[in-house]
Subunit: 266 residues, 2 copies
DNA sequence: CAATGTGAACCAGTTCACAGCA
DNA sequence: TGCTGTGAACTGGTTCACATTG
């Protein structure tokens, strides 16, 4: 889902499955909510429901962390919050820099979910000189020229890229050169990074495309004959070298659509 | 990674693995870029590199769609773009509504990647009366009261939720009641929806937490002794009912952190 | 001969179902 | 008795390696 090819070799850190790690934040969120409501304990069943997974999976996930539950009772909310936070490394402070302060970058800077966990926005960086000094979410934007210095001075190891696609790789290279080892990429590009650097990406349009795929299926199933005109798509020897630009439905959606969808005009 | 529990039963649509579907947008993006550079054909090797996957996986993925390549040569770029677009349902027009026009909603409205694929922002909806009428990305924001009408009138089937967590479920319910069957959720909450409705979620802070986990590992490995003070975490019988609020490192990151991280003040 | 398409081996992740314990 | 913790079965996904074909 992420990490270009940096998927960390078979280092076998301490064997917590990647899939489990990806769910820990989910559990943590649900637990935090319970904690606020002063709920003392939860059963795997309840917590699973709150987190949107099934209980067997949740119990298996927790079993990788240790035995933090009490048979016949459930889990102590506060204790679990602490254990998961620690496991995720949220008991320490993580300074992050956000590069590219357009709408998205600003949204990220304002995002409460960062500060609430162990994250702290150490700096906002943008290439536009006009942005320099302007405060966003209470933090003054700094110019790209300062990038290296900011990272070094603040001991930042996590960077967020929210620039247009065209600038992403370049920004990425500079971040890495400056010492960043984890990158969250919002630009619609595949970033190449040296081994040892983790990259996770969030692509807004990809998620929509996946939804469209399923949506299309639903529409097809409802009626009887799915698919458009053309004969079934799977194995049937399609009329090779077919009309590449053949219209599928209404609105012509082809033509050069510039794959540099500028997440926002930085 | 998404779809609360709506994971579409064993309908076995036409057997394209979910993992493959999730990668098609990636291939499409890479192909679009090649297409713009007027590259006529690509080998699985080249395309795989451009998309950030390995070639065996790519070929296997394509094999689910049909045999669109030419042995000894590779794939015809234009043809593949068309086939994948069609498969994803992007040859048709998908009107979408974005609910919650804060920084994030605005970023999404401005996002070029939507329009370039088959998506069209049919409307922007926000609960703040003050926003009504104000244009964002050239589209006037409409009040939540109009939600149902907008969806019905435009035949919208995909909705994007970019509201604060607290409003998400309620908005979701209204969207579903109005006929929406696919939802892209940016609010940090688990949405519950009836069967037949697909939900995909994008959680900004979850991605960061996953990065933090790996980052922590790296730091630990560099030195010799990972983990903090406490005895190893896995099997060792931890001192049960331990200090729930025990500090892990520096900055106390506990306390009520309000898990309503308001993606943006809608 | 180069590169696709794919069976088969392999591996990760999920689910089942129940033993074990508070 | 009730719920956790986990071996074992199963499912889905990835990788290998090679036969096939333009």
């Amino acid at each position: 889902m992420a990490t270009g090819r940096t998927h960390r070799p078979a280092t076998r850190s301490r064997g917590i499955p990647e899939a489990t790690v990806a769910r820990l934040p989910l559990y943590l969120r649900a637990l935090t909510a319970l904690s606020e409501r002063s709920v003392p304990t939860v059963s795997s069943e309840e917590l699973a429901t709150a987190a949107g997974v099934n209980s067997a999976k949740l119990r298996k996930d927790f079993s990788y962390l240790g035995s933090y539950g009490t048979r016949g009772v459930g889990y102590d909310v506060e204790y679990l919050v602490y254990q998961i936070s620690r496991e995720l490394g949220l008991t320490q402070d993580w300074p992050v820099v956000i590069v590219g302060i357009g709408n998205l970058g600003a949204a990220l800077a304002n995002y409460g979910g960062f500060a609430s966990r162990g994250f702290r926005v150490a700096a906002l960086i943008d290439a536009d000189p006009a942005m320099a000094g302007k405060p966003v979410a209470g933090i003054p934007v700094q110019h790209t020229d300062e990038l290296e210095k900011i990272i070094t001075d603040n001991g930042v190891s996590i960077g967020v890229i929210a620039t247009p696609a065209g600038a992403a790789q370049q920004v990425c290279d500079r971040l890495v050169a400056a010492g960043i080892t984890s990158i969250l990429n919002f630009a619609p590009t595949v970033l190449s990074v040296p081994d040892g650097v983790d990259v996770r990406k969030v692509d807004l349009s990809i998620e929509l495309q996946i939804l469209a795929f399923h949506e299309q299926r639903k529409a097809g199933e409802e009626v009887g004959a799915p698919e458009e005109a053309a004969g079934a798509v799977p194995p049937p020897p399609v009329p090779h070298r077919a009309p590449p630009g053949a219209p599928g439905a209404d609105s012509g959606r082809q033509g050069p659509d510039g794959d540099v969808p500028a997440v926002m005009p930085a």
